[in-house]
Symmetry: C2
Subunit: 388 residues, 2 copies
């Protein structure tokens, strides 16, 4: 199996770009990632690309060849749609393409445009990730779905709204250094508690914003890196994915996300590590409860013990295991198809000292990225390690 190295990464600013077409946003990310990698466009063997709702927000399907052309190649190009885990799905396929020996250079990317449509239209489009028969058509949207998860968690384990709010406060704090973040503003626990309710017990500040943006990562085989003297100190040593029922009503325990646990265990096994070996983490915190569920299902905390991690400072930049140093989906933003790829870019930069928050983790060598779709009906986990 050919080892997989990360040769270049790029993330566009996340935020509101309603006047920029998706292909344009993606081209910015892919050009910069290829320049970062110092790999010529002509060497791209494959383009693997995540996008969730382009049919609705851009009237554009079949984006694989479209973004490949934007990146200057006619290589095989495929679009992945796994709801909010679309970027992670593209990343995972990229890792496999290199591991299999069938590709030496893979351009992995993701993009979403959402602010060009009305916020209600965007919310409706995002609800396409839920089960139409059992959830969407009876009016469920994702704030409602995550409110149910929050209620299930608090009923099962107890805990305070203040502890949950601390997750948002921490991630906003982390975003203050990240000039690509959508929301660069400090907030307090009281701000979160005072925010308008959107689906009880969730308030506006428990939710990530609706963002536009793109991200790209250039993966290369170790052989290619050696032959072309590509500077690629970070390797992808583990990838795991698992599924769960789309509909929440089919779940036995809504206070836990087993798909994440299964995905993580595969990734840990491949990398021959355990949760204790991980120095820094980017998790899919579309809502505050999502970060808590992720940390527990990834094995960092026992069920019920993850809620207070942010309030106790354990997951802060100066804590034992920083979580979402990018600002997370919560503050960095969540252009859906780009998110899973942007996480890889952020972890890479954090590990190589090129991230604005790298100073917080000078000795970090192992990072983890966790991308989820729907109410974690899709979970995808990658382990990245500094190897040089």
């Amino acid at each position: 199996m050919q080892p997989v190295r990360i040769a270049g990464v790029a993330v566009t600013p996340f935020g509101e770009h309603p006047d920029r077409h998706g292909r344009d946003l993606f081209a910015e990310a892919s050009d910069r990632a290829l320049a970062d990698a110092a790999v010529p466009h002509a060497d791209i063997d494959e383009v693997l690309y995540g996008n969730f709702i382009g049919e609705v927000t851009e009237d554009q399907g079949h984006q694989g060849p479209l973004v490949a052309a934007a990146a200057g190649t006619t290589a095989a190009a495929t679009r992945f749609e796994s709801a909010c885990a679309s970027g992670g799905a593209a990343m995972r396929a990229g890792v496999r393409a290199v591991r299999s020996g069938e590709a030496d250079v893979v351009l992995v990317g993701g993009m979403e445009r959402m602010t060009n449509v009305d916020v209600h239209e965007a919310t409706d489009a995002l609800a396409l990730a839920a089960d139409d028969l059992h959830e969407r058509r009876v009016g469920m949207t994702f704030p409602g779905a995550y409110a149910l998860l929050t209620r299930a968690y608090l009923r099962e384990h107890g805990g305070s709204r203040e502890d949950l709010a601390a997750v948002a406060v921490k991630n906003h704090e982390h975003a203050m250094n990240n000039d690509k973040a959508h929301l660069q503003q400090q907030i307090t626990v009281q701000d979160v508690l005072d925010a308008p309710p959107i689906a009880d017990p969730i308030g506006l500040y428990d939710a990530c914003p609706i963002s536009d943006g793109a991200a790209a990562v250039v993966l290369v085989s170790e052989d290619y890196a050696d032959e072309h003297e590509v500077d690629a100190p970070v390797a992808v040593t583990g990838t795991g994915q698992s599924s769960d029922t789309l509909a929440l009503q089919r779940r036995v325990n809504r206070a836990y996300t087993p798909a994440t646990e299964r995905a993580a265990n595969t990734a840990y096994d491949q990398a021959a590590i355990g949760p204790d070996d991980v120095d820094l983490v980017e998790v899919h915190d579309c809502f505050t409860i999502a970060e808590v569920l992720a940390l527990e299902s990834l094995g960092f905390y026992e069920p019920g013990a993850g809620l207070s991690a942010a309030a106790d400072g354990e997951t802060a930049a100066d804590g034992d295991r920083p979580v979402n140093l990018s600002g997370g989906l919560k503050a960095k933003g969540h252009p859906v198809g780009a998110t899973g790829v942007a996480q890889i870019a952020e972890v890479t930069d954090l590990l190589t000292g090129e991230h604005p928050n790298s100073d917080a983790v000078p000795d970090a060598t192992v990072g983890l990225a966790h991308n989820a779709g729907g109410t974690v009906a899709s979970a995808i986990v990658h382990v990245l390690e500094v190897t040089q």
Copy 2:
């Protein structure tokens, strides 16, 4: 690299199933394919699934985990969208999953529902495969796009509408034995010429119908097949994919499809064969010209020489190299996401003697499947060979 075997295949009847949900259609195909393979659901390592316009016709995105649940598994599940090549993209990823050694059993599938919406809505949705900025928003739909390709071909090479019509006549003839075909009716060249024009010079009988349906294929590693004594005589020995610009205006030559040529060359190289070694072919004949373009770009005919192949009987069941013995998209039908997977199922059954048209090809050992997206902006080619 682990060799890839086809252990089981299934195709639902193609046609009008407006009252059956997509998950239900897919479950029929996946259950039958798993039964055909005699592989237990519990052994599925991954579900790879093609669907094009579920967001529009079923209000349903994130179908990967949904259909995995329908197939009775929480394995990693991913939806592929490459327009009309979505099924081929899923198949290709399945081959890579097994080759890489990361999966022993992969359920590859595809599904589309289209007749539950108005035909104009379906036509609009299909146009999402075109370039929004340069084609869709100025009113281009796919009959129009393929009319442009037809005009370009006839201008470049000459040729008659009668020869083009013979493609449709042949594929309808082939469908007469295939009880899964959407259109089981014989037609004549005169019928094609007399059919209502839909985009000059294309008439209604030059176009495939709008169909519902699903297909599934169970891929296994050779090691798994040997260990579990799985009857899997057909191997996938080649897979290739390439891209082209979405917008026709960007193409230098609209009388040829270079993405198909590039995809075929990769697949031929992997299988260590050339076009002359292929005994039977399923190509993506969404319109009559599409079959002609495919045959030329696959290397079976020189440019300009493929138009008369059907009229000359060369591609008929009793010809030198039968093309679309299933009836093709033209007569079998084209439930978009299912098509690329159904082609694999048809070729497999033809090679193993289990197809209603197998009698026409008793000595066939090498088959090829060609799936295309948009105006062949995506092309995916697989080579299948009998190995036992």
